[in-house]
């Protein structure tokens, strides 16, 4: 009996010590980071942490993808758009006490760019540098003095500026990279508002406020990222108050969060698109009337209601409304099976036709239930006489086969990287992207669109680019290579006393302005 009392005493003591303090925020999420070297990582869970440790020359505005100064306070672009000169802040220090300057920036980007850089060959390549095509954009970098950094470009490329706001272009401490070598990814040192303290794999990542931050120090003293795979448990932690924030909320909890006065829900249309691509290399999808018919045949609102629990937006353009230049003038195709059937008849297919509908075997951020969505689309198409067979492959095989154009119709999607419209339109719909293995899996090849996209890339004038991308969306609307389906909403929930957190279209999670009010 005495033992029982002792045990009880121990537990009560433990309970007593579990009080959380008001300057610590615990953020729960679905899985752990892979690594914390901003140039190496490719997954969102890694970037969520990196967002708070590292900074870039330029960054995004708090709520939009507009590019604003950060480590560079200003920049000049030469008339031919080939020389970009950045003027750096001189009051910035890394968390390890070393000084941030142009040399440090040259190190951070140079290790990704220069093949002979001592830190170029490491386990795991600089994937994002390559994915964003930086090797084909940048021709050289130089540092005339400690506070000036210069890029030479191979050709004019306006989206380049947005690339510089991405995690992979962040400044890392050269001294720390030298010290930790290929283990830097677990000893991250940057210039951001929080510094790295501890990482217990699959358990927690602890960051503390950077007291020597060049800008206003963060109100939070400590920020903890805790991975919890099971969605219901994640929600319970928030509900119990042992966590103060979470993201990727299961739709089933949305109502509970809305109705709980202790919690607040944040939502925003995500920077993504889920679409149905029609392979224009294969009949009958080479006929524009058929593509228009299919656009009228699919009930997108039903998809949003049934498979996203309302947490998505019907799509009419390939880019989501959170990306600048979104063309709201584009009408979109109304759900109208009658009109669809007429269009098919006009195309000489009054009896409909048989085809395949390929669907991803795995849930994606832009499409959580691809198999069920495929079934719904199949039923919609059946109504206009298009008999489709659903085809599924293992995920890797699926991607390979659609990039080779083996499909007739395929579901797929995209999550934007840098918030520039080019990052959707050029990679997914330009004719150069239709080369196999293709990113443009509709194999849509429009010279008119190509001309517009290339001009937009080469312009430094924001207004001109904006107009060109709006035009691009009209062209795409008319040619209808896809049925754009949805833009999935991103969600986050916090305790009601957490203030100052803003969802960002890129999915960045910044905690520098977040504070917890005393109840």
């Amino acid at each position: 009996m005495n033992y029982l009392r002792l045990a009880l005493a121990v537990f009560l003591f433990a309970c007593g010590t579990s009080q959380t303090v008001n300057d610590t925020l615990v953020f729960v999420r679905g899985s752990d980071s892979v690594g914390l070297d901003p140039a190496l990582e490719t997954d969102g869970e890694s970037f969520k942490v990196c967002d708070n440790i590292y900074e870039t020359l330029v960054t995004y505005d708090e709520e939009t993808t507009e590019v604003i100064p950060q480590l560079a306070y200003a920049w000049d672009i030469s008339d031919d758009m080939l020389t970009w000169t950045f003027h750096l802040r001189t009051d910035v220090q890394f968390h390890d006490g070393t000084t941030f300057n142009a040399q440090a920036m040259l190190f951070s980007l140079g290790r990704q760019f220069f093949k002979d850089h001592p830190h170029h060959d490491i386990p795991g390549a600089y994937r994002y540098w390559k994915d964003m095509d930086m090797d084909n954009i940048v021709s050289g970098m130089s540092v005339p003095n400690d506070s000036t950094f210069v890029f030479q470009l191979k050709r004019a490329n306006a989206p380049f500026l947005s690339n510089l706001a991405m995690n992979f272009c962040a400044a890392v401490s050269p001294a720390a990279v030298e010290k930790y070598g290929s283990d830097f990814f677990k000893h991250p040192v940057g210039t951001g508002p929080f510094r790295f303290v501890e990482w217990r794999k699959d358990e927690r990542i602890v960051l503390d406020r950077n007291e020597n931050y060049w800008s206003k120090p963060a109100p939070l003293k400590r920020l903890i990222f805790k991975p919890i795979q099971e969605a219901s448990v994640r929600f319970l932690e928030l509900k119990q108050g042992t966590a103060q924030g979470m993201d990727n909320i299961n739709p089933e909890y949305i109502e509970q969060i809305r109705n709980n006065p202790d919690l607040q829900l944040l939502t925003q249309p995500g920077m993504n698109v889920g679409y149905l691509a029609m392979n224009m290399d294969k009949p009958p999808f080479n006929k524009v009337l058929v593509r228009h018919a299919l656009n009228h045949a699919i009930n997108k609102q039903a998809l949003v209601d049934n498979f996203y629990q309302g947490l998505a937006l019907k799509a009419k353009n390939p880019i989501p409304p959170t990306v600048w230049s979104y063309n709201d003038q584009v009408q979109g195709y109304e759900y109208d099976p009658q009109r669809a059937r007429e269009l098919l008849t006009e195309a000489g297919l009054s009896d409909g036709f048989e085809t395949e509908l390929w669907a991803m075997p795995v849930p994606r951020p832009y499409m959580p239930q691809p198999d069920k969505i495929a079934q719904a689309i199949q039923a919609d198409l059946e109504k206009i006489g298009v008999r489709s067979k659903i085809v599924q492959w293992e995920w890797g095989t699926y991607l390979d086969k659609v990039s080779q154009g083996e499909h007739t119709m395929a579901l797929l999607g995209w999550t934007g990287d840098n918030g520039d419209p080019d990052n959707f339109l050029y990679v997914l719909l330009d004719k150069t992207a239709a080369k196999k293995p293709a990113g443009n899996i509709a194999f849509y090849q429009s010279d008119e669109l190509h001309d517009v996209l290339v001009r937009a890339r080469a312009s430094a004038m924001r207004d001109e680019r904006d107009a060109l991308y709006r035009r691009a969306q009209e062209i795409i609307f008319h040619d209808a290579p896809w049925v754009p389906l949805v833009h999935a909403t991103q969600t986050a929930a916090f305790r009601h006393n957490v203030k100052g957190f803003k969802l960002h279209p890129t999915g960045n999670k910044w905690f520098r302005n977040v504070r917890i009010n005393t109840p």
Partner: protein, 338 residues
Amino acid sequence: MHLYILKRIVLLFPTLLGISLLVFLMLYFVPGDPAQIMLGERANAETLAELRAEMGLDKPFHIQFYRFFSGLISGDLGRSIRTHEKITVEIFQRFPATFELTFFSMFIATFVGISTGILAAVRRGKFVDLLSMIGATAGISMPIFWLALLLVLMFSVYLPIFPVSGRMGTHIYLEPVTYFYTLDAALASDWAALSNVLWHLTLPAIALGTIPMAVIARMTRASLLEVLGEDYVRTAWAKGLARRWVILRHAVRNAFIPTLTVIALEFGYLLGGAVITETIFAWPGVGRWLFLAVQARDFRAVQGGVLLIATIFVLVNLLADILYAWLDPRIRYEKQTG
């Protein structure tokens, strides 16, 4: 006896070699190009070729096979494709979490299971017997995710006594020495941390221990009943020995061997990581890690992880065999083998 142990240890190598061969073949032939899966929507010809080369996937089968085995023999399991971390480090960081949980689960399971089993056997046919065997059947049949969630809802939400998930409170800082948090806390003489760690261990240990507990209880009851009917037990009764002495000294000791087999098997089995329990309680163990590795087709991590688990399983069984001899001197391994 020593010869026997030596023989078993030598036999360990071909066993493990067979297992690694099997794992290699399985992962080689399973559909899905790891490079393609890793790059997802972003894959293009150039990055795909590059990543395949980096992973060594562009090499023919026999070269990949040779590389895998030569690495294995030199004790190098390579780096995880997903995280770029050394597989040995990945395992070293997570195995203590699994071991600690398994140890406490098995501690509870063994203690409660054996006591219940003895009680049920001694009171055969009585109410206690019926109740404990109903409990044991329920314990075996209960889906573990359901039990785990039920425990969380009961004892973390409605009666907020225990934490919802995790290995220790987010406010606790422990210098990681062994990664066994109970040990680390004890080493640091941090009793608040120790109680916090035990507090976090309770629910997952109960959830994970329920099935072994039920199995042990049933096995103890069955074998004890058998032994209680033996002649020598009747002799012991006839000698007029005390009830407690007959049961604990004569009967239980002999009835314990089948139970020990079960305990060893369950222990080895749980050490492989309990994916469901680890997932629900956000327990950073081997099971969940391996599960994620399989999902990402991180074949190097899967190979290393499976090999480790197989080794542990074989070792635990060896340990059980040695314990038999210690418990029952009639078992003389060298006579059997010689």
